[in-house]
């Protein structure tokens, strides 16, 4: 519970309860964009490279498709992934700095919260580098090396993309551990660690009363004795 209350300042309960100056973490939302754009870019380049095999399928579906249109998705989505990922990593580091996770839990991979954050941070910088590198590589293939070829991408580029999928899976799992196991920036989890019932707290989201005050007030509904911190050192005792 100490890790919650250290951070409690003068902001509203909900805003401070997740340890951030805003109510919803930004990094996980930008992650949607990074992963979606990168994976679809590689997927469409694969589909485009195998276009001769798929021609009858597109014909059967009555969907006009050209390999150049499919390669356009591979290229533009990859550029967008590279641009967005700078913001994804920046937001991630900001939210790592503000993280205050429990130090007595180990993730399913046997790492504590700090190690998980360090690996996730290293992985983020590594993936940003790889995504930017892939974008540059893709650009050279599209406009210089393979401009006049039917197949716009090298097989090695597609292979590299698939290897990066594996890294992304590991990186994503570390991120899932941070949110799902350690409860980093999860409002309800941090309330529970502090011995406060999120059911009662979140309903008071717009209140200006800090958590420390709320738990001293008469409860609105349900029992207050609650969660792992309901022992003698808990702040939740009435």
């Amino acid at each position: 519970m100490k890790y919650l209350l250290n951070n409690v300042s003068s902001m509203t309960v909900l805003l401070e309860a997740n340890g951030l100056p805003y109510s919803i973490p930004i990094h996980p939302n930008l992650v949607h964009l990074t992963l979606g754009l990168f994976i679809v870019a590689i997927a469409f380049d694969i589909v485009a490279a195998l276009y001769p095999l798929e021609k009858p399928i597109f014909k059967f579906l009555a969907i006009p498709a050209t390999s150049s249109g499919l390669y356009d998705v591979g290229w533009y989505n990859m550029i967008a992934a590279a641009v967005v990922t700078f913001f994804t990593v920046a937001a991630g580091f900001y939210e790592i700095i503000l993280a205050n996770p429990p130090d007595d839990i180990v993730s399913p991979w046997g790492l504590n919260a700090t190690d998980t954050m360090v690996w996730h941070g290293i992985g983020g910088v590594l993936l940003l580098t790889l995504i930017v590198g892939m974008t540059v590589w893709r650009g050279f293939q599209r406009y210089v090396w393979r401009e006049d070829r039917a197949r716009q991408v090298q097989w090695s580029y597609l292979g590299a993309g698939l290897l990066i999928f594996v890294l992304m899976f590991a990186q994503g799992t570390l991120g899932a551990h941070l949110g799902g196991d350690f409860g980093v920036h999860v409002t309800a989890d941090r309330l529970i660690y502090a011995g406060v019932n999120p059911n009662e707290e979140i309903g008071k989201a717009l209140s200006d009363t800090p958590v420390t005050e709320v738990v001293k007030q008469p409860r609105i509904v349900g029992p207050r004795e609650f969660g792992p911190g309901s022992g003698p050192d808990s702040i939740s005792q009435e």
Binding site: H32, V40, Y76, N77, G183, V186, I192, G203
Partner: protein
Amino acid sequence: MFENLLPPLNNHNLPYPDTIHPIVVHFVIAMVLFAIVCDGIGYFTKNKSLHEVGWWNMVFATISIFIAIVFGQVEAGLATPYAAAAGDLNLHTIIGWSLSAILAAITGWRYIIRLKSPGVLPATYMGMNAVLTVIVLFQVYLGDKLVWVYGLHTEAVVEAARAGLLK
């Protein structure tokens, strides 16, 4: 009768390690929003490549949303939402199902536009894109609340719910 076919539920109350729905929705959120960006730029620049990119991203998003709903229903069913979370989970479910119909309709409309007048998008379609942006962003906000505010399927919330402390 199927209970014994699934692995036991873990400390996230899931029969598999981590939630899958938030992964699948990458391909709805990112693809819809990027399609709309490409359509927006392509609308003014008349860049045919960007129209193709917009179209294919919408196709990918439309396929993905149905997979997202399947996992969303499974994980909503196992979420054991407490009172404060139940309202937003219900709203997220209703909008999610509606969004699948909306996306399918828009992509179908786009299919016809692409056949009949490739490289030209009607202003009404662009207006529909604007409405779609608002719905998708609101749906993302609700999903974010379920994970990051209510902590559904996080270890602490599952533990508290199983102990009967969170109802």
